[in-house]
């Protein structure tokens, strides 16, 4: 693969994520009848956090500082496994979807451990919820991958994600729709969005992701936010590839097409967040089980 392609891939992967946050925020503002902050506000926020002073609780150990780094690194590495529209995935091999899922799990391990590192009961609560929901999202994700693998006849994420287009969509609409629904729920849960978690809530008791990072500040908090944004982009790309046949258009036009598709999914997330109420915490597992079943049924439909 050409070096320039990898560089463009990296550029999109590293620069686009905050824009998604901006688009989601703008969508939600429009629904609320407000103008909302500028689309580039998340970039400004990250720049501000990078310059801020860092405060570390005396209780914490190295894990606390390592977690935000790993959150970013694992999300970026997961982004290297997926294709970005016309650009092939820089890292691709049979079974790379396992690497994708386990990289996200590595980030989760350290984020949750860092929450316990503070010794705060609130952060412990968030960590427990994070890992308590992830064990349902992971099988859902794997069922989705297997369904895509059956469709494409390949175990490489690149081919799996590029399969749903044209004829395939027509032939297995129901299965693909089920997979898309499942992946959407996984995305909402993994990226701490309504109806699973409310990124804008103000009450620690009800938070999941935000409460885990209460004690992170300055550049470390910036890394946390940035890592979460990259993870959002990566899962967004996953969903976008299932919904939109973006890879059919090659070249720079394809890249534009891809960015539009990714932003459209961000708008979709904004719409979901604006039109739905947050679920009660104990109802969340039911939603996640629905995701597992949705992807599982898709696999059954593709069975024979």
């Amino acid at each position: 693969m050409a070096l320039s392609q990898i560089l463009v891939h990296l550029g999109v992967l590293l620069l686009l994520p905050p824009l998604l946050l901006g688009v989601i925020q703008r969508t939600k503002s429009r629904f609320a009848g407000r103008r909302g902050p500028s689309l580039v506000q998340p970039y400004r926020d990250l720049a501000k956090l990078a310059r801020k002073e860092l405060a570390l609780s005396a209780t914490t150990t190295g894990v606390f500082a390592l977690a935000p780094v790993l959150a970013v690194v694992t999300a970026v590495m997961a982004g290297l496994v997926v294709p970005l529209g016309p650009f092939d995935a820089p890292i691709s091999f049979a079974g790379d979807f396992v690497l994708f899922a386990y990289l996200l799990a590595l980030g989760r391990f350290f984020t949750a451990a860092a929450a316990l590192d503070t010794g705060s009961p609130f952060e412990g609560m968030g960590a427990a919820r994070e890992v308590g929901f992830a064990w349902l999202t992971e099988p859902a994700l794997f069922f989705a991958f297997f369904a895509l693998a059956r469709l494409s006849g390949s175990l490489q994420l690149e081919d799996m994600l590029r399969a749903p287009e044209g004829e395939l969509w027509r032939d297995s609409t129901v299965a693909l729709a089920l997979v898309a629904a499942g992946v959407l729920i996984v995305l909402l849960a993994e990226c701490a969005r309504i109806p699973v978690d409310d990124p804008a809530t103000h009450l620690e008791l009800t938070m999941i992701h935000e409460v885990m990072v209460l004690d992170h500040s300055g550049p470390l908090f910036g890394l946390v936010e940035y890592g979460a944004a990259v993870k959002l982009l990566v899962l967004d790309v996953l969903l976008m590839h299932i919904l939109v046949p973006a890879a059919t258009v090659r070249g720079w036009l394809g890249l534009g097409f891809f960015v539009l598709g990714v932003l459209a999914v961000a708008v979709l997330i904004g719409v979901v967040e604006s039109t739905m109420a947050r679920l009660r915490l104990l109802r969340v597992p039911a939603l996640l089980v629905a995701a597992v079943l949705s992807c599982g049924f898709a696999l059954l439909l593709l069975g024979r």
Partner: protein
């Protein structure tokens, strides 16, 4: 007739292995001969153990490198001639035995200092050496009798290891359960080898032809699954395991969990390898058993708040993962899919190594925690990373490895199994072929939850007890073995290609027809994995280095900064999340299998008295199935006691009655006595 055949490397390897077994058998003698509190006795014992392990490792490597197996025929000691042999599979399983065994001896000398434990230090060291020797003999055995002798020696030696602290009632109970289970397994194996001798033509391990009757083959498989399954701790035959592993001294727990369990896997691999044409159903049964063990093993682990019991339940989970690999390989042999065989077996074998490495690392770490704070209770720990940073760091490596996260070794073996299962799910079979893989995915996520809990509650946060607050770092002789194990975990994780040939040899020795032709590197780009692992470590290190000065400055500027308590001023360590509260969200979904027992506080009136809350999770199979079953059996037998009056006349009467009945029966032409009695 005696003879010694095979290429030079294999013969040398077998001799080295047997020599190592001899040295290890005698390794406890110096300690036995010297006074109880003598340091030099235990020192000599450790030296002998290390010498034996070094010789054995050389032998195992030679066996892995040899082009063909070696066979040593011994003149008829028992029924027929005895056979010892060495092939790549023996070498492959012997390596972790010797590596973990040697490191365990070093760790154990400090952990179980003879000056602090004069009563049972010497017996512990002797049994330890004997256990290692019996494991090597087991791996070299090539006929049913030698195998059973080695098996029973192993069972007894490990029993004595488990009951090291026999003064404590719960240790005796755990040892008793272990002994009972071991002998139930032994009974199955006696039957298994009798059947194998009948089908394969002699007690020496020979191929069982495809022409064998399906009924007998099914019996063979069932006996192997139960007999070896008990040893390996496959659910639901696992009930002996958590208590036995928790009660033993920690380096013994490491040996038992990391290595002795694998002998069950070895036995399954060896005996199933003998069958020329296994039916597909065997693979499916193994997949189901593996999936159940993996998933419910981790569910039970999540619910524990005893550190060593939790690790023991994780062994059940990992045995399940290993069985998933083996089941896939068996299914591959039944359907002629070489890729399933290679990937399944690669995952199975490599996970045997990996689990031995990270589980002994974790048990050593748990031992150091116990050593420092005097408690296995997770909820009494906390903040140990500040007090024992080296132990904490090494434990973290083990925790990440056991969750099968990249870039460590667990990921490589689990990826091989995942890839194999995915190929199976992709194939022409039904869609439920994807279920084992989904179970594995859920298991992985639950393992992450479990080890976040363990590491977070034990090592992070603030101390929950005075003992934890006063904990001291473990001494260097206990840290060094852990460091070596952690280094091995990292090495297999970032350079799996280096270890691939050994795995290939193991596969080839097991499935001569398919495995020999293909390396598992053909299906799994090991070089690519190395790049991913290196990239992951490099990126993390780069950003961390950039952040390190910022963090240092922040700590220097405000060294006493507390954690943000959300405005609540009375924060105390007791407010922290505990092991049970952390896992509650998940374990509450599994109340139907965990059956937790609670003792709630009764809170009455406006100013309630001090109260306490207690929860415990017993092993469901033992408490809800076995104990009631045995009680029922005892009650039933009590009814028979009426006929046992102890008077001779009565017994003579019984004999007469029996004789009459038999006579009547044999006179009846419709009764199938001829068929029962043979010719």
């Amino acid at each position: 007739m005696s003879g010694f055949e095979g290429p030079l490397a294999a013969r040398a390897g077998l001799l080295l292995l047997l020599g190592a077994a001899f040295v290890l058998t005698l390794s406890g003698v110096p300690a036995l001969l010297l006074p109880r509190r003598s340091l030099s006795g235990s020192r000599w014992t450790v030296r002998l153990t290390l010498a034996g392990c070094a010789a054995g490792i050389a032998g195992a490597v030679a066996l892995l490198a040899a082009s063909a197996p070696a066979v040593l025929r011994l003149p008829g000691l028992f029924l027929g001639e005895g056979q010892l042999g060495g092939d790549a599979l023996s070498g492959f399983f012997a390596l972790p035995v010797l590596f973990v065994g040697g490191l365990g001896a070093v760790y154990g000398r400090t952990y179980w200092d003879p000056r602090r434990h004069p009563r049972h230090g010497r017996r512990l060291q002797f049994s330890y050496g004997l256990a290692l020797a019996s494991l090597l003999l087991l791996l070299a055995a090539r006929d049913g009798f030698t195998f059973l002798i080695a098996w029973e020696t192993m069972a007894l030696a490990t029993y004595f290891l488990v009951v090291t602290e026999e003064a404590r009632a719960e240790v005796r109970a755990a040892g008793w359960t272990y002994l009972l289970y071991s002998h139930a397994a032994l009974l199955c194996l006696v039957a298994l080898f009798a059947l194998q001798a009948q089908l394969g033509g002699g007690f020496a391990f020979g191929a069982i032809p495809a022409t064998a009757a399906p009924k007998e083959l099914t019996a063979l498989f069932a006996l192997a699954l139960v007999g070896f399954g008990i040893k390996a701790g496959v659910m639901p035959l696992h009930s002996w395991l958590p208590d036995a592993h928790a009660s033993a001294p920690s380096h013994v727990s490491a040996l038992m969990s990391g290595v002795v369990l694998k002998m069950g896997i070895y036995g399954l691999v060896r005996t199933l390898g003998l069958v020329a044409a296994p039916p597909l159903s065997w693979g499916v049964v193994l997949l189901v058993a593996g999936g159940l063990s993996a998933f419910f093993g981790v569910v039970f682990a999540l619910a524990q708040h005893d550190l060593k019991k939790l690790l023991a339940y994780h062994s059940i989970e990992n045995i399940g993962i290993i069985l998933l690999g083996l089941g896939l390989a068996m299914a591959g042999r039944a359907t002629g899919r070489a890729d399933w065989v290679v990937l399944g077996m690669a995952g199975c074998l490599l996970h045997v190594w990996n689990h031995a490495l990270f589980k002994s690392l974790l048990f050593f770490g748990a031992g150091s925690v116990l050593h420092a704070t005097g408690s296995r209770e997770i909820d009494l720990q906390g903040g140990l990373a500040k007090r024992m940073p080296a132990t904490a760091g090494l434990f973290l490596v083990g925790a990440v490895a056991i969750c099968a996260l990249p870039p460590l070794n667990g990921f490589v073996s689990e990826l091989a199994i995942f890839l194999g299962l995915a190929r199976a799910a992709l194939g022409p079979g039904p869609a439920w072929a994807a279920l084992p893989a989904a179970a594995l995915a859920a298991t992985g996520a639950l393992a992450v939850a479990c080890f976040v809990k363990v590491y977070g509650i034990v090592f992070l946060g603030t101390p929950r007890s005075e003992a934890a607050a006063a904990a001291k770092e473990a001494p260097a002789p206990m840290l060094r073995p852990m460091a070596l194990l952690a280094a091995a975990c990292v090495a297999i994780g970032i350079a799996p290609g280096l270890f691939a040939p050994a795995v290939d040899r193991g596969i080839a020795a097991w499935a001569e027809d398919t495995g020999a032709l293909l390396g598992w590197g053909r299906f799994l780009p090991l070089g690519r994995l190395a790049v991913v692992a290196a990239l992951l470590i490099l990126l993390t290190a780069l950003i961390s280095l950039r952040l390190a000065p910022l963090c240092r400055r922040a700590r220097e500027r405000q060294p006493e900064l507390p954690t943000w308590d959300c405005g609540f001023a009375g924060a105390s360590p007791r407010l922290q999340y505990t092991a049970s509260s952390f896992a509650e969200l998940i374990t509450s979904r599994f109340g139907w299998v965990l059956a937790p027992r609670f003792r709630w506080p009764r809170i009455e009136g406006p100013f309630p008295e001090a109260s306490s809350f207690h929860s415990e999770i017993a092993d469901s199979v033992l408490e809800r199935l076995l104990r009631p079953g045995v009680r029922w059996l005892v009650r039933l037998s009590e009814r028979l006691r009426r006929y046992h009056q102890g008077s001779l006349q009565q017994y003579l009467l019984y004999v007469v009655i029996a004789l009459v009945i038999l006579l009547l029966v044999s006179l009846q032409p419709w009764w199938p006595v001829e068929r029962l009695g043979g010719s």
